[in-house]
């Protein structure tokens, strides 16, 4: 498991009030019971943890390059942003 994946899952697990082991990559935020406010808070935690800026407007989530369709998609998106913003 990559460091990014580990950290993202920790953040999502904390938001969902679950153990890290109970979060799997194929789950959606809805599966995990994370609502729009929880999503915005998760994104903030991700930005703080990785020192990146995540482009995301809650009014048009589908237009964001930040894919939130599943835990795996979020991990990939964060990996991309870390690579893009730290090089």
């Amino acid at each position: 498991m990559s460091n990014v994946q580990q950290k993202v899952i920790e953040i999502i697990a904390e938001q969902a009030v679950l153990e890290v082991e109970d979060v799997s990559l194929d789950q959606t935020l809805e599966d995990l019971g994370i609502d729009s406010l929880g999503l915005v808070e998760s994104i903030f935690s991700i930005e703080e943890a990785f020192d990146i800026s995540v482009p995301f407007n809650a009014n048009e989530p589908e237009k964001s390059v930040f894919d939130i369709s599943s835990v795996a998609a979020i991990v990939r998106a964060v990996e991309g942003l870390v690579k893009e913003q730290t090089t």
């Binding site: 406010l37 903030f44 995301f56 407007n57 009014n59």
Partner: protein, 402 residues
């Protein structure tokens, strides 16, 4: 129960520094939103707002006043001055004792807080100006209005986020209606366009970076504004006895709480407030011709508001007009309902319906007549003004043509 009328109106906002200029801009569908001119704007990701431009506090206030008046207080004083002057009222003796001021604001003296936090945290100063507290307090505007015009009756400030000024005007209305007061200076004021004020909103990720496009399928969030709207509400018999010009009658008010979510709006809570205002006014829903929408331009508000209007009005929802002037002046948060009440007065008095500008594409979830982009002439007897706040607190006012 006493009847209540509006005998004075004043404003300063991104569209104009008085009512005439503001209404002219609304009728033209002019946009007052533009690039923000504030300190550290380069560190913001949202760089637009409905800022009051061409404004120099030194033209209106002296050095001693500026030391005490935050920008939100300045706006309130200017708008109140216009309204009271138009009303022709002079507050002395018994009238002064029976007249007060109720204003809405959400952030109060936020600019003062922002500047002084900078001083102590960023610049490391250990001393701030002695007037910081009386300048930043949320009731500063209401208190200065009361002092300047000798309003000695019930006076206070209402803070219910985006519904503050509607709640404030609702209180003023019910106090006159019940006989507690003869005249009330009421409305709201906000000046949140400072670095901290915008940065906080950015965090929620509901702001648009380019424009406020209420009800349009292409909408992507709200845009903050600033300014004030202030009115003189007066007992109808008192106004008629002195031959005052009456701008409109305030006929109903209702407030509800969603008791559900701290940010997501509720169709039921909004619909109950709309229906409640009509019941309070004892009018049939078919008499309503225009609604000034809360219409923030967020995905959630606009579709929820349209669903609430559809629920409250049934088939009549397709016959009435509903527009959001926030597309032009931005969202004045605690002052927004007051500036938006001007659009209701324009509809009733002048038969001009302010448009929802920035409208690009139909949204099936907002399938009402939102008066897209261009103002319309129409005869309206009753108008409603909606305000639905974060925290699920809703306040709707009903006005009638006189």
């Amino acid at each position: 129960m006493k009847r209540v009328v509006i005998t004075g109106a004043g404003t300063i906002n991104a569209l104009g520094h008085n009512v005439a200029d503001t209404l002219a801009a609304m009728a033209e569908g002019r946009c007052g939103i533009g690039p923000l001119d504030i300190r550290d704007v380069d560190r913001l990701s949202v760089k637009i707002g409905g800022q009051v431009t061409g404004y120099d506090e030194r033209i209106h206030f002296n050095r001693q006043q500026i030391a005490l008046y935050d920008r939100f207080t300045q706006f309130a004083l200017l708008a109140a001055g216009q309204a009271i002057e138009q009303s022709g009222l002079e507050f002395s003796g018994e009238l002064a004792a029976r007249s007060g001021v109720v204003l809405g604001t959400s952030g109060g003296g936020l600019t003062t807080q922002d500047e002084n936090y900078r001083a102590v945290y960023e610049e490391g100063k250990n001393r701030v100006h002695p007037f910081v507290v009386p300048k930043l307090m949320n009731n500063a505007a209401a208190s200065h209005v009361s002092m300047q015009w000798n309003l000695k009756g019930p006076s206070f400030t209402v803070a219910t986020a985006c519904a503050s000024s509607n709640h404030a005007m609702g209180q003023a209305f019910t106090m006159i209606r019940s006989g507690m007061a003869t005249a009330m200076v009421t409305g709201g004021s906000e000046s949140m366009l400072c670095f901290g004020g915008v940065k906080a909103w950015e965090g929620l990720r509901v702001m648009s970076k380019d424009a406020c496009r209420p009800f349009s399928a292409t909408r992507n969030g709200m845009v903050q504004g600033e300014g004030a709207g202030v009115f003189v509400f007066e007992e109808m018999a008192h106004a008629k006895a002195r031959g005052a010009e009456i701008l409109a009658e305030v006929i109903g008010f209702a407030m509800t709480s969603d008791a559900a979510d701290i940010v997501m709006p509720s169709k039921q809570g909004a619909a109950r407030a709309i229906t409640g205002a009509m019941q309070d006014a004892r009018i049939d829903k078919t008499s309503v011709g225009y609604i000034n929408a809360h219409g923030t331009g967020t995905a959630a508000n606009d579709k929820t508001e349209c669903a609430a209007v559809a629920d409250a009005f049934g088939a009549h929802a397709d016959d009435l007009m509903i527009s959001s002037t926030k597309s032009m002046h931005g969202h004045l948060i605690g002052g927004t309902g007051a500036v938006e009440l001007l659009a209701c007065i324009m509809a009733l008095r002048d038969g001009v319906i302010a448009p929802t500008i920035g409208y690009e594409e139909d949204d099936p979830e907002c399938a009402l007549d939102v008066v897209p982009n261009v103002a319309r002439e129409a005869s309206v007897d009753v108008a409603l003004s909606n305000a639905f706040a974060f925290g699920g607190l809703n306040a709707v006012l009903a006005l009638r043509k006189v």
